[in-house]
């Protein structure tokens, strides 16, 4: 048996597929255990999206329409790292979120809250050589969903990352620190205690822009390589 190139996640990191408090998992979560696949070229390679042209302003969600969106302008920034603390250079970081009123610019979102014609809610950026990324956006609102009686999603921003391999692909959600709704959210709480706290951004006073915007820091850690690389 050859050694895996990428670490297998520790138990206690990711949510269980079947998390009954989050009702939609019931009909969709696979019930049979996934078969552990030795990592071959198929798993250790993956899309780098290097041919994808990312415009300079795609990381500013406040400048995608004619006017400025309503809401509290914020800076969201951080680093994309691997488990060894090594930067993931040039990582594609994609985000999407609802507007300040808690409504997505999406035909499926029928929440009784106003759409903002000046907010589309999607952005992306390529991290720099040190794995650093930054977005300008507005703070998303909380919104109700029908998971259970009086269910509200805490404010969150969806993040999508590829990393260097098919095995490192990750989609997650960033939350805001100390949001009282976190305690009631089945999606956040599906992540084991001790790991879910990593999904809360840190308020970052040092990066706030005086007279302009508050800042939050969200570092993202993807699977890292084992010390001894596999030779195939």
């Amino acid at each position: 048996m050859t050694q895996d190139l990428y670490h297998r996640p520790d138990p206690g990191t990711h949510p269980a597929n079947l998390s009954p408090e989050y009702k939609s998992t019931g009909g969709r979560a696979p019930r049979r255990p996934a078969i552990v696949l030795p990592q071959t070229l198929s798993e250790i390679t993956g899309p780098l999206l290097d041919s994808e042209h990312v415009g300079d302003s795609e990381n500013d969600l406040t400048k995608q329409r004619a006017g400025e969106p309503l809401g509290e302008r914020i800076v969201v920034h951080g680093r994309v790292l691997d488990e060894n603390g090594k930067a993931v250079p040039q990582a594609m970081v994609e985000i999407w979120q609802c507007n300040a009123a808690g409504r997505y610019h999406h035909p499926g979102d029928q929440h009784d809250a106003p759409l903002d014609p000046n907010f589309y809610g999607g952005g992306r950026v390529r991290a720099d050589r040190d794995g650093c990324y930054q977005f300008i956006t507005i703070k998303p609102g909380a919104y109700p969903w029908k998971n259970h009686h009086n269910a509200w999603r805490p404010a969150h921003i969806h993040f999508s990352l590829f990393g260097p391999a098919f095995a490192t692909r990750l989609i997650t959600q960033m939350y805001f620190p100390n949001d009282p709704l976190l305690a009631y959210d089945p999606i956040y709480n599906a992540v084991p205690a001790g790991a879910r706290e990593r999904l809360q951004a840190a308020f970052d006073m040092a990066s706030t822009r005086p007279e302009w915007a508050l800042a939050y820091r969200f570092d993202i850690v993807l699977r890292g390589r084992n010390a001894t690389p596999v030779e195939s």
Binding site: M1, T2, P9, T13, H14, P15, S19, S24, T25, G26, G27, R28, A29, P30, R31, R32, A34, I35, V36, T40, L41, S42, T45, G46, P47, L48, L49, E52, D82, G85, E94, I95, W96, C98, Y104, H106, P107, G108, D109, Y120, G121, G122, G123, R124, H158, S160, A165, F166, I171, T172, I187, Y188, A190, V191, R196, R198, L199, R223, V230, S232
Partner: protein, 185 residues
């Protein structure tokens, strides 16, 4: 450093990810056998999943991945990235135009049968779910080390079937009696 946990893609990803939506992987000039892949996503009750996102990752027709960790001396197609991504439609399906991948090696020796790596995201999936698509009837399937790991009764869940012309179809069942074989990669 501690790994960032996974969360669901949710139902409202449409706005952003579509910017990097790629259903046509093989523009003119890319070498290989052209085919159309129709993947249809079903839930445990068999109902179609109309709000999913499917991603595919594959080698080119020569069996080479466009990636620095594939250092073999095989031809790269400059216009072929090997990555596709598309939402499922109201009928649960995503369609990709691509070429049939070549074979890639197995770490312990020998070769794998042609296959396409598939990643599945949807509301209700807290983690990405990964599977593989193989081509039904390909003689290399008989010696594929991954297919050999699987209970023969479940192998057909990975085998796309060819219909008229060059269209290959694979239903993906997240649960139920025909649950697809999923992999921990």
């Amino acid at each position: 450093m501690q790994l960032t946990p996974s969360q669901t893609i949710g139902p409202f990803y449409w706005g952003t990810i579509v910017k990097a939506y790629r259903a046509d992987l093989a523009p003119p000039g890319v070498a290989g056998e052209r085919l159309s892949l129709v993947l249809t996503l079903h839930d445990a009750e068999g109902a179609v999943v109309p709000d999913g996102l499917l991603e595919i990752w594959q080698a080119n027709s020569h069996g080479r991945y466009k990636h620095p960790d594939d250092r073999r001396n095989l031809a790269l197609d400059p216009a072929f990235d090997g990555f596709g991504r598309a939402s499922t439609f109201t009928d649960g399906s995503s369609t990709f135009s691509t070429v049939k991948p070549g074979r890639v090696p197995w770490p312990a020796g020998g070769m794998q049968a042609p296959h396409i790596n598939v990643g599945i995201f949807a509301r209700g999936l807290l983690n990405r779910v990964a599977t593989r698509l193989y081509f039904d009837g390909d003689p290399a399937n008989a010696e594929d080390p991954v297919l050999k790991m699987i209970d023969p009764a479940r192998r057909p869940t990975l085998l796309a079937k060819k219909d008229a012309g060059s269209t290959w179809r694979l239903p993906i069942h997240l649960g139920g009696p025909n649950e697809t074989v999923f992999f921990d990669v």
